[in-house]
Symmetry: C2
Subunit: 204 residues, 2 copies
C-alpha cells in the first residue's frame, strides 16, 4: 500500500485496484487519477456496476453456466440439440463458441481445470454434475473443449476416463481439432479457427 | 460492447472496466470474472471505494494539489520552506518527490502539461495561479519539475518566459538535473535518481 501520502479516498481506490490480478500499483494509480479527473459519472457508473455484479446471477442447474435465469437461455432453447454437450472450463469459453455461430448443442461449464499446483482437484470442478447429466439426459456425444494446455488436457483425460467407466456405453467422446495454438486460451481464439476446430473434432 | 450474450450485470461491469484507459475488452472480462469468482467482499470494497473516490477531495487553494483539507498538509506545515516552490504536472509527481525525503519546500501542481495535439493550452493549467503566488508569496526560487518530455519541456519554457516577464526580478528559476531518462515520467523515477536530480538542479 504505497499511497499513504495521498488523500484517503484516492489511496483506497488505488489499493483496491491493485488487488486485481495483473494490476500493479502504478496502473492502479493511473486508473484512480483518470477517474478523479474524468467525468464524475464514470466512477459512479463503475461503482454501481460493481455493486450489482452478482445481482440476480445464478448458476444454471443444468449446464452450470452463470445466467440470469435457471435454466439459462441456451438450456431453455428448444431449438438446441440436447444430444450434444460441449464441455468447457469457463463461461467466457461458452461465449467464444457461441460467437462461431456454428454450434447448436448444449454446454457444460466446469468452472476451472484440474491443476495440482493450484490445489484444484476434480472435486472442485462441476464434473459430478456432468456425470449426472450423462445418466439422466439423452446425450449421445460430449465434446471436450477444455483449453489446449496441461491443465485442460489433464481435465479432458480425467473426464474421458470417468465417462468410459460408466455402465451405459455408446456415448461418443470428441475433442476439438488441434488447430488451436497449444498453450493458448480458448477465449482468445478467432471465430474461424474455433469453427474449424469444431468441424474437425475427432473421436477420442 | 462485446458482451451481449453474458448476464447483464456482468456485461455492465465488463463494459465499464473497458472504458478505463489501457483496459481492453479481454482484460475487462478477466477482471469481471475474477471478481465474480472471488470473495464477494472484494467487488463490494472496490465499488464502495469508487463511490467515495471524490468524497471530501478538495483542491488546495495555494498549491492546487488534491487534498482532504484546504490548505493541504504540505502548505499547512510551518516547517516547510516557503521561499522554494517545486512546480509539477500531477499530484503523483508530488508523491514521487516527497518519497525522496530530501525536499523541504512547497509545491505547485499544474494538473497537466501544454499539449497542442491534445488541445491543452496554458489556460487549461494552473499557471495563472502560480504567477499570482509569485506576486503575493515570498518565493525566491521555483524548480520546474515538469516531465522530461516534449510537453513538459514546452510547459517549463512557457512558465520560464512568463516569470521572466514579471516586473519584480530576482526569482531564481531552476530545472531538475537531466539525470532523468528522457521521454519518461517523473512518477516512474526511483528515489535516488530523483534525489540526485533535485541536488543537481541548474539555473535556467
Amino acid at each position: 500500500l504505497a499511497s499513504s501520502a495521498l488523500p484517503r479516498p484516492v489511496a483506497r481506490v488505488i489499493d483496491e485496484f491493485a488487488r486485481l490480478p495483473g494490476v500493479g500499483n502504478k496502473t492502479a494509480s493511473r486508473l484512480a487519477f483518470h477517474l478523479l479527473r474524468a467525468d464524475r459519472e464514470q466512477a459512479r457508473a463503475l461503482a454501481a456496476a460493481l455493486a450489482g455484479l452478482a445481482d440476480g446471477i445464478v448458476t444454471c442447474s443444468r449446464c452450470c453456466n452463470i445466467a440470469e435465469a435457471d435454466p439459462c437461455p441456451v438450456c431453455a432453447d428448444p431449438a438446441r440439440e440436447p444430444s450434444v454437450v460441449c464441455v468447457v472450463e469457463e463461461p467466457l469459453d461458452v461465449l467464444a463458441i457461441e460467437r462461431t455461430g456454428t454450434y447448436r448443442g448444449l454446454f457444460h461449464v466446469l468452472h476451472g481445470a484440474i491443476s495440482p499446483v493450484d490445489g484444484i482437484t476434480p472435486a472442485d470442478l462441476r464434473i459430478r454434475e456432468l456425470i449426472l447429466r450423462l445418466q439422466s439426459e439423452p446425450i449421445r456425444e460430449i465434446i471436450l473443449a477444455t483449453n489446449p494446455s496441461l491443465e485442460g488436457d489433464a481435465t479432458a483425460m480425467y473426464i474421458e476416463r470417468s465417462v468410459r467407466a460408466l455402465p451405459d456405453e455408446g456415448i461418443r467422446i470428441t475433442r476439438l481439432a488441434r488447430g488451436l495454438p497449444i498453450g493458448g486460451d480458448i477465449e482468445y481464439a478467432d471465430e474461424i479457427t474455433l469453427a474449424r476446430a469444431l468441424e474437425g473434432r475427432r473421436d477420442v
